[in-house]
């Protein structure tokens, strides 16, 4: 069965406070990486989906994001077929 490989990226919406990103930013600074103005933490999901139709896969992935992978109250998502 052929599979389509895809990557879903979930990021926090603008304006949503990201305390983990802030902590990472401070840790980078303490390692000497000065000049880092902002860090926002997100999630990446790599999926393999049965099928050959990229358009259908993309539609399915968006539905998966809306229903589970992202919390659209606070997060945005993007889908790419790789």
């Amino acid at each position: 069965m052929p599979v389509i490989k895809a990557r879903v990226t979930v990021t926090l919406k603008n304006g949503v406070l990201d305390p983990q990103g802030k902590a990472i930013e401070h840790a980078l600074d303490s390692l000497g990486f000065d000049g880092v103005h902002s860090v926002r933490q997100g999630k990446v999901f790599d999926l393999e989906i049965e099928g050959t139709d990229p358009a259908k896969a993309e539609a399915d992935l968006k539905a998966m994001c809306d229903k589970l992978l992202a919390n659209t109250v606070i997060e945005n998502y993007s889908v790419s077929i790789t």
Partner: protein, 222 residues
């Protein structure tokens, strides 16, 4: 009044909740398992605290998609009272039964201590045994209790009196917007709160400030 407690893998406050409901109502609640698709005829459903499904993906995200939560949503739509405490609150926002989201505490630390709560709305099915503005003691124990809602949602829930409990006197343990500790849905029959009123219901707990919530919901005498 008859009550039910939802039990999911990873919850750990279910026994405390069952004990509190039993002591206050005089009747043990029925327990409902994750795969149950039907909930018996009860007046109150409680989702207790813990770490359902290991907090994987987001706190409450997996539990919110289990069959039992569809059954809870159906009951809520019919007007049955629902309370979610701590992880139960997270499950209710993830399932869309309550607005907003619960994010990582701004301190990035798990907080386990007592806070003070102000009863921001004493005119609800869950708080009418308290006085308006009353300050009560209540324990909290969570890592992700930082309530967030977008500006439009926040204005709506504030305007409609849906904010029921606020952290009082500088005790906000998690950075919640507007010091929000607990909210109800627009119909007023679904309550979510991060603190644990079930752990302050008898003198052996060191106080009984949490009783009023269950006495309100269960309609039992103080």
């Amino acid at each position: 009044m008859k009550s039910a407690v939802v039990v999911l893998p990873g919850l750990n406050r279910d026994r405390d909740m069952i004990a509190a409901l039993t002591k206050i109502s005089g009747t043990a609640p029925v327990t409902i398992w994750q795969t149950d698709t039907e909930i018996p005829d009860v007046d109150l459903i409680v989702i207790p605290g813990g770490f359902s499904y290991g907090d994987y993906l987001r706190c409450g995200a997996i539990a919110a998609r289990m069959p039992v939560m569809r059954a809870v949503a159906e009951k809520a739509a019919k007007g049955v009272q629902v309370i979610g405490v701590c992880n139960g609150f997270q499950i209710l926002v993830e399932s869309g039964l309550l607005p907003g989201a619960l994010m990582r505490n701004t301190s990035l630390k798990f907080v386990c201590r007592e806070v003070k709560l102000q009863v921001a709305n004493a005119n609800t099915a869950f708080t009418h045994r308290y006085q308006p503005g009353q300050i009560i003691r209540c324990p909290v124990a969570h890592h992700d209790g930082n309530y967030f809602a977008d500006a439009e949602t926040l204005a709506r829930i504030e305007g409609q009196g849906q904010v029921v409990f606020r952290y009082a006197e500088g005790t906000n343990p998690n950075g919640s917007i507007n010091d929000i500790a607990g909210i109800v849905n627009d119909k007023g029959n679904v309550l979510g709160l991060m603190p644990h009123p079930e752990n302050l219901i008898e003198p052996a707990h060191g106080g009984i400030d949490g009783r009023g919530l269950f006495e309100s919901a269960l309609g039992v005498a103080a």
